[in-house]
């Protein structure tokens, strides 16, 4: 008995103890298993289903469709391109307006400009709300019969068309979405800025660098990991946009987004595997930024 115990001790000194191994296996194995069961398996099934015709009820009804769903989407469904366009607008708006604004705000607040505590609070408040709640709030404000319409003295019959006016609704939706996104980016960036060594900035100031030069040459490079996260968040947020628009328009595709099309065709009343095909298209679009993010994370680790 003693010898086996001693042997074990020797072995465990060489590698990990039994306890460690068990802990490691549990910590890696259980999440991996859950990922496989709840994420990879459904994703794989969705990919397979996107090549079939099915109404989502009896497995025996599944029929092979080949590329028919994709052909239908790419060549027969103009609303798909409208959705793609809206997702792209979302992405461009976030990339070139909302995100830079959030960064600018964070930078100014970090410099402790006058009233920075107030600004921080004001811009932070929308972040605690989910986009669905934000949708409810702004829909209540802007819809015919809503608060803003009432203030303007418009009743439901002559209410200003906002959600249904295609020359402005895109900007209004983007504005509402930015309301939260700006604060979100500000918060992330602010946390990053706190970790930048203040002596770097002081040194730059002593060397006579302007504020803009300091930001571009010192702060931005020092913030590289946060920058990558923000880029990825901006892209993913734009692609997965759903709740805000769903609250305002429901499943009617009056202002379509890829996710709305997934929902309408996959979970709505007319279930068809066209919805699965939309989901796969969305997945393919999302994989790019995710890979970029992972590559960056691992590169940091290797360093």
């Amino acid at each position: 008995m003693k010898t086996t115990a001693a042997n074990k001790k020797v072995r465990s000194r060489r590698s990990l103890s039994r306890n460690d191994r068990f802990t490691l296996a549990a910590f890696i194995g259980i999440p991996t298993l859950m990922q496989i069961i709840f994420l990879w398996l459904p994703a794989l099934i969705t990919i397979v289903l996107s090549f079939t015709y099915w109404n989502g009820i009896n497995v025996s009804d599944i029929k092979w469709a080949g590329l028919a769903n994709y052909k239908n989407i790419f060549f027969g469904t103009p609303v798909f391109y409208d959705a793609l366009k809206n997702n792209l607008i979302w992405l461009l708006w976030f990339t070139f307006l909302a995100t830079p604004l959030g960064i600018l705000l964070a930078y100014q607040i970090d410099r402790k400009i006058k009233g920075h505590k107030l600004f921080e609070t004001v811009f932070y408040i929308p972040v605690v709300l989910s986009l669905a709640i934000i949708g409810i709030i702004w829909n209540f404000m802007l819809q015919p019969g809503g608060f803003v319409q009432g203030v303007m003295g418009r009743d439901i019959g002559n209410a200003v068309s906002i959600w249904g006016n295609y020359s402005i609704n895109t900007y209004v939706i983007m504005g509402v979405a930015s309301w939260r996104h700006i604060g979100y980016i500000m918060l992330l960036y602010l946390a990053g800025l706190k970790s930048v060594d203040p002596s770097l900035r002081e040194a730059a100031a002593i060397d006579g660098a302007t504020e803009w030069q300091t930001f571009r040459k010192i702060v931005l490079p020092a913030m590289r990991p946060v920058n990558i996260i923000i880029v990825v968040i901006t892209i993913i947020e734009s692609l997965r946009a759903f709740d805000l628009v769903y609250i305002i328009y429901g499943t009617s595709t009056a202002w379509p987004l890829l996710n709305i099309l997934v929902f309408q065709n996959f979970a709505g009343q007319g279930i068809s595997m066209k919805g699965a095909a939309y989901a796969v298209i969305l997945l393919v679009l999302c994989i790019g930024p995710i890979l970029l993010y992972l590559r960056n994370v691992f590169k940091e680790d290797l360093k």
Partner: protein, 434 residues
């Protein structure tokens, strides 16, 4: 055997005997029914809508009457109607409530074919001659000849208006007989600063009512149904004609059609901001809930004739009823409750709670109807052919995802019509066989 079944069957026998041979059928079901045990156990019921709605209070009152009658407790829960419809397949495959309010047509038949709904033919049979042949026909699944819904209420789609508003304007919608009359009425209403033809289509389905009636008036019921089932083409000049007529109504519509949903339309009428509104009469419960005065002011007339060949021979009159989930915990209890809700006692309880719907059952005495309901019956009676509404007359993967956006696109930009119709047809052609 429960008292409920007993009472109904006895009445059925008497009625059946009067007609003749049918009595044998009803008698047979009575005998078959007697062999069964009394249905017991709690029954779960889904109310489509909010608990604060007038409809929910009515459903609860009817369910309470069932509990009083049988001693079986009914546990009701309210579920947002859109959510329930959107997630119907998932709910029915999980642990659904035993019975729920549902809609006849494609939404029942296709789900019955997939085995999600329980066969309630026996309960329909027990209701006997209180249901007209047409109602039973409407509730019958064509693929197996059985019923999966107990038809209870229906309502017409027509032009609704407020009597007081029209009186102030010096107009009489009851006198409109032709398309030109309708346009003149809209024009006159518009001149007085009101919305001529109230429409909302934010939800994507509201304007289908206008499409349906224009198609039935211009091209007839058969063309309409054939179009919705792929036997006619959306690119047909006849369909172009329908949209051209819809286009003629656009100048009289509110300028925020895509901003408001059905409830916005209702509010336009409630707040006296519009003349005519094409809608199903089911929203009248909300008028009654607001005040009796508002309800008394509400009126409906049939959509006028456009093509003399078809006159006013068709109407959208969706059939609603009670369905039973095949996967419910207490399927027999669900069926029993559904049968009760379709019977005289169930209807009496609902009406006592303020239901303004009109009932299919001939057991219900129509002479007690209020004037608005009598007018609804008159509007229905004028029609020979009954449609169920576009999203119940055609496939679910076509109505919502294809026709809804198509009509919205047209209202947004009527000049795109050719492109819209080409695409609608292309999307029908791309649908998998059922």
């Amino acid at each position: 055997m429960s008292d409920v079944n007993n009472g109904i069957s006895r009445r059925s026998v008497l009625k059946g005997a009067a007609i003749g041979g049918a009595g044998l059928v009803a008698g047979g079901s009575l005998l078959a029914g007697c062999g069964k045990k009394k249905v017991t156990g709690d029954v779960h019921f889904t109310i489509r809508g909010n608990l604060s709605d007038a409809g929910a209070k009515i459903a609860i009152a009817a369910n309470d009457a069932y509990t009083k009658k049988t001693g079986n407790k009914v546990i009701s829960q309210a579920v947002n109607s859109d959510d329930f419809q959107n997630n119907f397949v998932q709910i029915m495959q999980g642990t659904p409530d035993d019975a729920f309010g549902w809609m006849a047509g494609w939404r029942t038949n296709s789900r019955a074919d997939s085995g999600l709904l329980a066969d309630v033919s026996e309960q329909v049979k027990a209701l006997g001659s209180s249901l007209s042949a047409a109602a039973i026909q409407g509730a019958t699944n064509p693929s197996d000849g059985k019923q999966y819904i107990i038809p209870t209420t229906y309502y017409p789609w027509g032009l609704h208006y407020r009597k007081s508003t029209m009186q102030e304007l010096g107009l009489n919608p009851e006198s409109i007989a032709t398309w030109d009359d309708l346009l003149k009425l809209c024009e006159a209403t518009k001149k007085k600063g009101l919305v001529g033809y109230a429409l909302g289509d934010k939800g994507g389905w509201e304007a289908m009512g206008t499409f349906d009636i224009l198609n039935m008036r211009l091209n007839g019921y058969q063309f309409h149904i054939d179009l919705l089932n792929g036997k006619e083409k959306w690119t047909d000049a006849k369909v172009v004609d329908v949209f051209t007529h819809m286009g003629q109504l656009i100048p009289y519509m509110n300028k925020n059609v895509l901003d408001i949903s059905w409830d916005g339309m209702r509010d336009l009428l409630l707040q006296k901001k519009c003349g005519a509104m094409m809608m199903g009469s089911w929203f009248a419960n909300d008028f009654k809930a607001k005040s009796q005065e508002d309800y008394d002011d509400l009126w409906i007339v049939p959509f006028p004739e456009i093509n003399p060949e078809h006159g006013v021979d068709s109407i959208d009159a969706p059939l609603d009823g009670i369905s039973v989930a095949a996967n419910g915990k207490n399927v027999e209890g669900g069926k029993d409750l559904a049968g009760f809700l379709g019977s005289k006692e169930g209807i009496d309880a609902a009406v006592a709670a303020g239901d303004t719907n009109i009932y299919i059952s001939s057991d219900f005495d129509t002479s007690t109807y209020d004037p608005f309901n009598k007018q609804k019956l008159a509007v229905l009676g004028a029609a020979k052919n009954i449609g169920f509404f576009l999203d119940r007359d055609t496939r679910g993967d076509f109505a919502g995802p294809v026709v809804g956006p198509a009509i919205q696109s047209f209202l947004k930009n009527p000049k795109d019509l050719t492109k819209i119709l080409d695409n609608t047809q292309a999307q029908w052609d791309a649908l998998p066989a059922l």
